[in-house]
Structure formats: structure tokens, C-alpha cells
Amino acid sequence: MTEARDNYLLDVAASRRGYAINRLCGSLKDPENRRRFSEDEAAYCDAYGLSEEQKKAILERDWTGMLELGASIFYTFKLAMLDQKSMQYLGGVFTGMSTEEFMAAMRSGGRNFG
């Protein structure tokens, strides 16, 4: 899996690059779309015009890879929710911690980068 950079800014260029992947994830707001996605994830990716790299990141749930390809966390979170994964799970993925470790870090005051 991809290693995370410090920050992911959804700038205008990333919005353009990540347009298809964000549109796909955004579509999962709709229950009918969630059903169709779950039925055949690869076909759904193709229907939304994802690049091969983007499709791979989605199918493999490479959450950091998605960000590298222009995804925004607010969009990919809808996919995580479909998988019944929390924002704390994703926090763990991005930082190389287990969900429990990440939650403990938050409860002890969060991660300090002063």
C-alpha cells in the first residue's frame, strides 16, 4: 500500500485529476448506487471512467493511493462507510497504526506536530 504524505490538498489540479474517483465515491450517497457498486465493483469503476490506477486503488481499498490520485477524504469516506470502516480506521491506515492505537492517540489529546 502507498505511504502517506503529510497533507493532501484537494487543489484545482487534484480536483481535475481525481474527478472520476470522487464522482464515483460521491455517487455512493445513493442506496441504489451502493447496491450496484457492491454487485460488480470493477464494472462500476469502468462506468465512472476511472483510470486503471484509480480502479486498482478502489478495488484494493488503497486509501492512501486514492488520495495520491486526486481523491478527497470527504468522498472516499463514503466508500469507507459502505465497508463499515470508521474515520478512526482510516486514521490508522494513514498513520500506520491500528484503529485502537489511533483512537488511543486521539483520547490522549491527539497527535501533536508542534
Binding site: 505511504e3 502517506a4 504524505r5 503529510d6 497533507n7 493532501y8 490538498l9 484537494l10 487543489d11 484545482v12 480536483s15 474527478y19 470522487n22 464522482r23 465515491c25 460521491g26 455512493l28 450517497k29 451502493r34 488520495l67 478527497s72 477524504i73 470527504f74 468522498y75 469516506f77 463514503k78 462507510m81 459502505l82 474515520m87 478512526q88 482510516l90 486514521g91 494513514f94 498513520t95 489511533f102 492517540a105 486521539m106 483520547r107 489529546g109 491527539g110 497527535r111 501533536n112 506536530f113 508542534g114
Partner: protein, 288 residues
Amino acid sequence: MARIIWGLATSHVPSIGAAMDNGKTADDYWKPLFDGYEPARRWMAEHTPDVAVVVYNDHANAVDLDQVPAFAIGTADRYPVADEGWGRRPVPPVTGAPELSEHLVRELIDDSFDITTYHRLDVDHGLTVPLSVYCPEPGQAWPCAVVPLLVNVIQYPQPTAARCLALGKALGRAIRSFPQDISVAVFGTGGMSHQLAGARAGLINTGFDRMFLDAIEHDPEKLAALTREDYIREAGTEGIELIMWLVMRGALSDTITRVHETYHVPASNTAAGLALFEDLGDREGAPA
């Protein structure tokens, strides 16, 4: 004429709403936060406004990346609660204040703010959680009508903090020039420090947040001078939502008093803050 009676700055973390919706506010995890809200809630319950102008951002729900407006105002008479992908929050739909919306749009456009209008808008947790922070048990209807004011904080470049404070000042003038005799509260929502993605996920910067909580009252110009890069570095990629507090602060007069504040870590992955200000500017006998 309309008058602004108070301003509320509050985080709008979805899990704060979920804690209320699922009856978890007395749990160990949540109790400190909700206890912290209590004095503010009591005060606000005694000072119900006719309309709340809620400054917030959408989170990939009503606004997709096809069109990303810097500033937008809802002009509808009703705003459905958004289904963000896991069902609608069990809260009442939001009633609009279309005449005030219309007035604000015209005044702000004439004041050189390039406002987008939304005639249809499903409001997500960015708006409904602050309403729940204000009023935990609305019953069948929220206690006031709402004008949603959206700020792009998701796509870089966001409006500058200085532009947000300037918008707030213009918003204050526009509200005060509305010819109906109504009382208005202004909500600035989002923040405080948090970052959801990347290697710095879980970032909390208590020092910055405490500084911000103080300066939002006493020195908003100092906060307005920070760049978006400053906000992202200090408060995290999502902490930049704090620029929306500046819109609220700008709308208040120079004569405000702090009714209450609270600060708690964590709410989900976020530092949650609340600051409530009474606006004395329009009170009889108060300095102009």
C-alpha cells in the same frame, strides 16, 4: 430593522450529532463535551432568534466537484436534511427565511461579494450539527428559521481568512439593514484543529486552538492575517474550516461579550470548541 443578538462559534463534527441522535451524550466519552455545552445552551434557550444565519461548508453532499462556489447563500423556503450516505439524521427539516436570503444576496452582491445562490440545497452535518448544539431537542421543528451561508473550505484555494472576515462585516451590515424587525443569530461553524487524511491524520494543536478561541473575540484581524497555508500547517487540512468563524465574528459589532466557551479533545478525530458571544452593539444605551 433587524438586529443581531448573538454569535455562536462551534465545531460541527458529525459524531457530535450522532452522539445526540443515539442517546450517547452521557457516556464517558461524550459527557465532558456536552457538559461543556450546557451553560451556552441554557443561555441560548432564553434568547431565541427569529432567524439563524448558519455559516458552514458542505462535505461532498449537496455540492459536488462539478461546481465549487467560494461563497453561496441558500434562497429556498425549506432545506431537506441530506442523506450523506448512511441515512438522514432524525432531525426536523430546516425552514428557510427567503426574504432575508434575498435581501442578503442583493446587499452582498452590491457590496462586491460574488455570491452564488442555491435554490435547492440539502443541508448536511455542517449545518444540522450546529443546530443540534444550539437546540438538542427541537421536537417537530427547529426554534428558528435558517439562512445557510456556504463557504468552500474543501477545495484549495479557499477564500482567504481576510476575505471571510470582510464577508462577515458586509453580512453584518446587510442583516442590520433588513427592514423587518427581527432578531438574528449568526453561527460560525467547523474546526477546531483536525486533519483527517495523510501522515499527519489525528493532528490536534491545542496551543493554536486556545489562541484562536481568545483572538476570535479580541483580535480577529490577527486571525484574518493568517494565510491558508498557516491554517493548514497549524490547524490541519480540515482545521482551515476555522475561517468560517471569522465570517460570524465579522458580522458582530465591536461591542460583544463572551457568554461561554468550552474546548474538548477529542470529538472523533477533532478538537471541538464552542464560543458564544452576545452582541451588545444594537442594545439601547450600548456604545455604537
